[in-house]
């Protein structure tokens, strides 16, 4: 599913964050990615999700080398990737329902059935009462749950989550990770970057530790 070869990355010619990274995530796998702040977890997820461009090395997603994909193909590829951003990135001018439905609307696949699907998903993450509210009216935890709902609403083949449980309590954190597990059982490849090593361990899934831009085996 994801093959990373000799990946080196730095922002604006500064000190490299990722240094010759080699990694493999097979299709349908579930991995936790841990490591201290600045170890490159978020950067790695942003490269896989094509938010950052590959400068050195190769990143293959679903058999496609990201460096050679054209703009249209990259956009279509992004539609298959769900991303839970650390900073949620909900659009403040749109309601929670509209935010969550956005990936479906972008693909043009949004009808009555999808509306129902979005409503059910929002109910599942405990946001049934706030679907018509705007993100600034919600707490951090609620916004995070909305961001997670948006990431999974289109049933992506690859789900990348950057600290998805950072702003929620333990009960909700466990529910969210169970949702990811459910998606994983349905065939979605899941990569979760987290600080919460204890919770990651409780899920009995491979844990990769990033340290100083490399995988610490």
């Amino acid at each position: 599913m994801i093959r990373i070869e000799n990946l080196t990355f730095s922002y604006h010619d500064e000190k490299p964050i990722l240094k010759g990274l080699d990694l493999n995530f097979s299709a349908g796998s579930f991995h936790f990615l841990t490591g201290p702040s600045g170890s490159g977890k978020t950067t790695l997820l942003k490269i896989i999700s094509m938010e950052n461009s590959v400068k050195e090395g190769h990143v293959m997603v679903n058999g496609h080398d990201l460096a050679v994909l054209d703009r249209e193909a990259r956009a279509l590829m992004r539609r298959k990737v769900g991303f839970v951003f650390q900073d949620f990135r909900l659009l403040p001018q749109m309601t929670i329902l509209e935010n969550v439905a956005l990936p479906l609307r972008i693909t043009g696949a949004y009808g009555r059935a999808q509306y129902q699907q979005v409503s059910e998903l929002l109910a599942w993450v405990g946001l049934k009462e706030v679907t018509r509210k705007y993100p600034p009216e919600l707490s951090g935890g609620e916004q995070q749950r909305a961001a997670i709902a948006r990431a999974v609403v289109s049933r992506p083949v690859l789900l990348l989550a950057d600290e998805p449980t950072g702003s929620v309590d333990d009960v909700m954190a466990e529910r969210i990770l169970h949702l990811f597990m459910e998606l994983h059982r349905g065939g979605t490849t899941v990569v979760v970057a987290t600080h919460n090593l204890t919770m990651a361990r409780s899920f009995d899934r491979p844990i990769l530790k990033l340290s100083d831009g490399r995988v610490d085996h």
Binding site: S49, E51, R71, E72, A75, L76, M77, R78, R79, K80, V81, F83, R89, L91, P92, Q93, M94, E98, L102, P103, R105, I106, T107, G108, R150
Partner: protein
Amino acid sequence: MIRLRNTLFYLGSLFRPIVRLERTPERYLLPVVYAILSLLCILACSLPIKISRGEGYAVDSTDGHLVAHIAQGDMANGEFSNKIFALIKTLGQNESIETVEVSAGNDLINSMTVLFGEVALVEHLYGGIVRIDLIEKVGKEANLEDLQFAISEFHSAQIDDFRVWKKAGLKRTYHATLLGYLFALLISLLALVILALTVRLSLRMQSKTLNLIHQLGATDSFSSLIFQSITLQRSLIGTTIGSFLGAGSLVLIDSILEIQGYVGAAHSGPAQFILLLLVPLGLTALSVLVARQVALQFLRKRH
């Protein structure tokens, strides 16, 4: 089938944007600018139409029409009258002349006052003048030299077939028309330049939204569609307001011309009112195309 679906999606998104943008101050700019510019565009286009109509009326009404103004000069009243009667008879016998009409005194002053609007001026110009109107037979052109010879007894009299001022008038009309359309073109270009700058500004101000939808898989065409859609809405609002202002202005201009004593020929006709539809629609369609190009260019550079 896929093409049809894409077209329907495109049209649907054009009229009902999928992504709502943040409320930024520049959203007021475009409708206001477009209202002003489309009003100017309508006026600039209607100017040549109005002049052409007036000119056309003047040309049509003088076709086959000749006129001579004869001053009494030093002749005694009786002698002058006899000579005028003799002249009318001579002119009436000309084979290419259909009718000869004479107007003098109050009749002449009354008829000319309609055109000039001021009795004192007409009395000053036409006091002691006899005006002879000659109408040519259909399809026959009178020999000007023959007619001029017939009136040569009255030294200062000249047969006027309106050719000289018709030529000058047509030249003026041509220049005014050219100027009007040029002005309309410049205004349209100005509108599109302002639009392009506004769309760029809007794209910059909406960078957060654009980055997110880009990350969620929006193609450049999709993202540009949002800006086409808001351009469509804002320019339609602006140009519609401009069109209403234009209609009001045309009615106002007509009434001013009427008060000033200009004949009904200069009144706005259907062509000018069609402009009220064409300018908003044309400007809006062009704006949507420009917005698309600007947005695509911006997005390709950005991401």
